[in-house]
């Protein structure tokens, strides 16, 4: 029997919810929106059982605010949404970047712009995930391509958010979110869970936004003696608003440094048959699955194709892409948008190899056949 092995048939959205619970998430605030709603529904059942809190807010602006509030109180918190709601969340995602509040935002991508295609997949929010909130800021964005990855990358999203005190965006698409696959749930003791570093100094010595070698200051939860100020204004090391250029610059640079000096820890990708690939397909999310099939079929035809699957979308995995570009004559970037990650690939490739694109925006998943056709055309 499957159940004894803890092997389950689970939906992507449900696996996200299970991953969140396994990572220690005990607070969810959200607003119903297709195709992400199952995450909220699942957690509305499970969280109260675990002593956690589920709350349906009046909109996504509020959801994001409540998530940040809960995190400041010391509780791991998340929300889940889709395009229109993700747009509304941008304001407070920026707050979480500025005030360095750990939290996880799941965006199940559907067709857009605007209301777009509520029940159809797309990958149009990749740049929005990077630059959606105003101002210069780093951000970490992950992309899941399977039900097991929905689980493991949600755990990873929480771990990264706690480690780097930053909001993490997990991108799904309608295909992955609604897909059901087998998943073997790892026992809790096998999971590596990271909890935010809290201050060890007494309150009077605590400097809430002090620079540290990692660039990440320890974070005191509200209500435990460390009374400090949290603001969306640019602030000094004590958290107080500042207008001094010798404080503003170092603060913004530290926000970037805490991410950039840890790229090896943050970047995550997989390669498939790239060793001798004359063409490397660079894909993420559900399209990576079509690409893998296309690579298998291309190899069957004697075409030397390989796949680089990006699981960390932002910060962009420059070294992995550069490696692919150096090894192959051609890289091909299939995306369910008019070309978002392909722009980054072109920038990073910098003329080393030829960058081809395959863009599909009709609300259906790119098929292996379409990618194979492009591979064949490019290599002949």
């Amino acid at each position: 029997m499957g159940a004894e092995r803890r092997e389950l048939l689970m939906q992507g959205n449900e696996a996200v919810a299970e991953g969140a619970l396994a990572a220690g998430c005990r607070f969810f605030a959200g607003y119903p929106i297709t195709p992400s709603t199952e995450i909220a529904e699942y957690l509305s059942v499970k969280l109260p059982h675990l002593g956690g809190t589920f709350i349906q807010m009046e909109d996504e602006l509020a959801s994001m605010g409540a998530v940040i509030g809960a995190s400041l109180a010391g509780v791991k918190a998340m929300t889940a949404t889709s395009g229109p709601g993700f747009s509304l969340m941008q304001e407070n995602i920026g707050f979480a970047c500025e005030a360095e509040v750990p939290c996880v935002v799941v965006n199940v991508m559907r067709g857009g712009p605007s209301t777009g295609l509520p029940t159809f997949p797309a990958q149009g929010d990749v740049m929005q995930a990077r630059w959606g909130t105003h101002g210069d800021h780093p951000i970490i964005v992950l992309s899941a391509a399977s039900v097991p990855e929905c689980f493991s990358l949600t755990v990873r999203a929480f771990n990264l958010s706690e480690r780097y005190r930053t909001p993490i965006i997990l991108l799904l698409d309608e295909v992955v979110a609604h897909m059901r696959e087998k998943i073997t749930m790892p026992p809790a003791e096998e999971l590596e869970i990271f909890n935010r570093v809290t201050p060890t100094v007494p309150p009077e010595w605590y400097i809430p936004y002090a620079d540290t070698p990692s660039g990440v200051p320890p974070m005191a939860p509200f209500g435990e003696g460390y009374r400090y100020h949290v603001t969306g204004l640019t602030h000094d090391i004590r958290g107080f608003p500042t207008a001094r250029d010798d404080e503003i610059g170092p603060f913004i640079k530290r926000l970037f440094r805490k991410i950039s000096q840890n790229f090896p820890d943050i970047h995550m990708s997989q390669t498939f048959r790239t060793e001798d690939a004359e063409i490397t397909v660079i894909a993420y999310g559900c399209v990576a699955r079509s690409a893998k099939r296309a690579v298998v079929e291309a190899r069957d035809r004697g075409l030397k194709a390989g796949l680089l699957k990006l699981m960390t979308v932002w910060p962009f995995d420059r070294s992995a892409v550069e490696q692919a570009a150096r090894r192959s004559k051609v890289v091909l970037v299939p995306e369910m948008n008019m070309g978002q990650i392909s722009r980054e690939v072109k920038r990073v490739n910098n003329g080393v190899s030829t960058v081809e694109t395959l863009n599909k925006v009709d609300g259906t998943l790119i098929t292996p056949g379409e990618i194979l056709e492009k591979i064949t055309e490019v290599l002949s």
Binding site: M1, G2, A3, E7, L8, L9, P118, T119, F120, V175, H178, M179, R180, E181, K182, C286, R289, S290, K292, R293, V296, L365, T367, P368, G369
Partner: protein
Amino acid sequence: MGYRYEIRLSGSGGQGLILIGIILAEAMGLYEGLHVVQTQSYGPEARGGASKSEVVVSDEEIDYPKPQKVDLLLAMNQASCDLYFPDLKEGGTLLVDSTFVNQIPSLRAVRIPLTKLAREHLGRGMVANIVALGAISELTELVNITSLESALVGRVPKGTEEINKRALYLGKSEAEKALKEMQGKEIVDYTLEETAV
């Protein structure tokens, strides 16, 4: 080289196609130990509109999650039969609910009045989807009726297990009957030979 078998369950919203997709995937994945991916596509309507649920099953890891050429197509209304028949693999199996599908594009279609049977034998047209599931167990060797029964019990509302089990076995026996009839008429027994793996 492994095999890949693709099932599409289609009809209108509210006919329970996503549910039987999940049960089928669970039976094949957890009880038969195969690799399985279930996906779905649906319109904005909660009821009515077009609905389909798809299951891809394989003995190795599944990359592309959607069917490319369908091995088994269930059509529970005329519109879905018309729309999806062209995607059926040559020699693939077409199962239609002949309560609603009367223009059948293939002589070799397995015709079972799923909804009518559900109404007449079980008093509830809404278990027609489970009748279809039982029939599917007879049309492919990849899933056993007992696996389906185990998966079904965990997925249907409490208190409806019995009627659903009866629907499942009804579907199986009706499919047996239909296949026998087709053999009698000297229509090639394509189902088990050509799609068996």
